[in-house]
Amino acid sequence: MEFDKDSLLKLGKLSKIKIDENKLSSLSSDLGSILKFIDRLQSIETDNVDPTSNSLDQSLVMRDDIALDENSAAEILENAPEKELDFFSVPKVIE
């Protein structure tokens, strides 16, 4: 099984990962091999089986609703590659 070029490029767009032309062929065969491997599940009978999303037998724990003074703007912005005033800064977006 192989991914054709167009579906691979579409997948790259959905994943926001630029795929280099020279990597297309090896990526196509790698992903094809993985897809073939995971396709083995299709033969398993699961009609009356509920899906498991989490193995813990416990409902999610909620915290008490108490206001905490943490995560200041300065701390949050500390690792931002680009910032202006108290904001993350990104390339101009014009539609």
């Binding site: 089986v49 899906p51 813990l56 724990v61 690792n79």
Partner: protein
Amino acid sequence: MKAGLNLIEASELLANNETSSVELTKFYLDNINKGEELNCYNTVSSEEALKAAESSDKRRKEEKSKSRFDGIPIGIKDLFCTKNIKTTASSKILSSFVPTYESTASQNCINAGLISLGKLNCDEFAMGSTNKTSYFGSVINPWKSKNSEANLVPGGSSGGSAAAVAADLCIASLGTDTGGSIRQPASFTGTVGLKPTYGRVSRWGIVAFASSLDQAGPITKTVEDSAALFEIISGHDSKDSTSSIKQKENFYDNLNSSVKGMKIGVPKEFKSDNLSASTQKAWDDCKKLLQENGAELIDISLPHTMDALPTYYIIAPAEASSNLARYDGVKYGIRENGKNLIEMYEETRSIGFGDEVKRRILIGTYVLSSGYYDAYYIKAQKVRSLIKSDFNEAFKRVDAILTPSTPSTAFEIKNEPKDPVQTYLNDIFTVPVNLAGIPAISVPFANDENNLPIGLQLITNSFEEQKLLNIAKNVQDTINYAPNLDKWWIK
């Protein structure tokens, strides 16, 4: 200083004033320096470690030690966020990230007075079984095959955590295990690796890979150390909504190595043609040993064992593709410029992620995309239910399950197969445990004909880590495995 000290021995030396935390810390920093070639650490925090050691010695003098392990140096996988200390997940995209907060698991270590020597190398975002996907290069296994100089993989993803403990570059370490990332490297390096029940150790502040599978745990030299360090890092954390509300237990004090009357299950599906002869022999010898020590062996079946790996390679990449969406060049990490916002995202992620991480994001995006979601993702979640129910059935009949940890021992770094699926097969025995959310431990049992360590895996039902550690201790105490590792890197 005696080489190869374990956590318990070090705590006794400190209690008897036969050493100090500063002396211990200096000794391990020196070992790290001598072992640089092994590439175990991404970051060594010498200054911070020595400062913390001085404070620990002061506390001890004033009889204000935080725990009996106060002052003992450990290493931390570079996946745990550590305040003011670089945390990279061994990825280029996070190569400059310095967290402003501390993960709960590493904070629990600080609260017990443990000293962090630095951050241990791992596969990029914990995706891999060889440590070769690290942006900072492969970790080298301190073990070498008899009659060969070739470098071997330490396993992964917690390869640095396992290799550092084996090579005595720290007394113990923290790792994480999503599909075998603690147990497989422990098996490849002759160390003890524990993956706790999902929910036992808080995931807060650990760089997320696959959130329904990720679990942190200790890699140590002995089962006693494993119990002690597990006790330190476990417990409910209100910051993690999947953290178990069960009370913290005294795993170390309650160790009891008797296996008399216990029922040990041996699953027939783990007998595979891919199993090396020496691993098969170790497995057989361990069955005999447990029987001689009073346990009863019971043949069991886990019919969906072979479906676990394909299930894992749908669920883990799906969750990863969602978790790794946060790396967009805006909030943290590197940014690569583009003509507009979308191009900036695409360039940043293309340059910032390595090949294996990209493969998993792409596959994850594929199985979650419209038209494939039910066929892959929901299907895998249903098979996950079947895998979990296999274990539930088995634990109605047995106390624990015994299997090999890995099909083979450590292999050469340059021999990794080109097809990624072949590499995935390393985790064939460990992955079912993560899908079921239950605890398991890898214990070194013997060396193979090339003098490389073989690990065996014990598995129990959810929250039965005490039983798991007790059986592991029985095995450890009976065989008395002595690593006998040649420190070839010290010239």
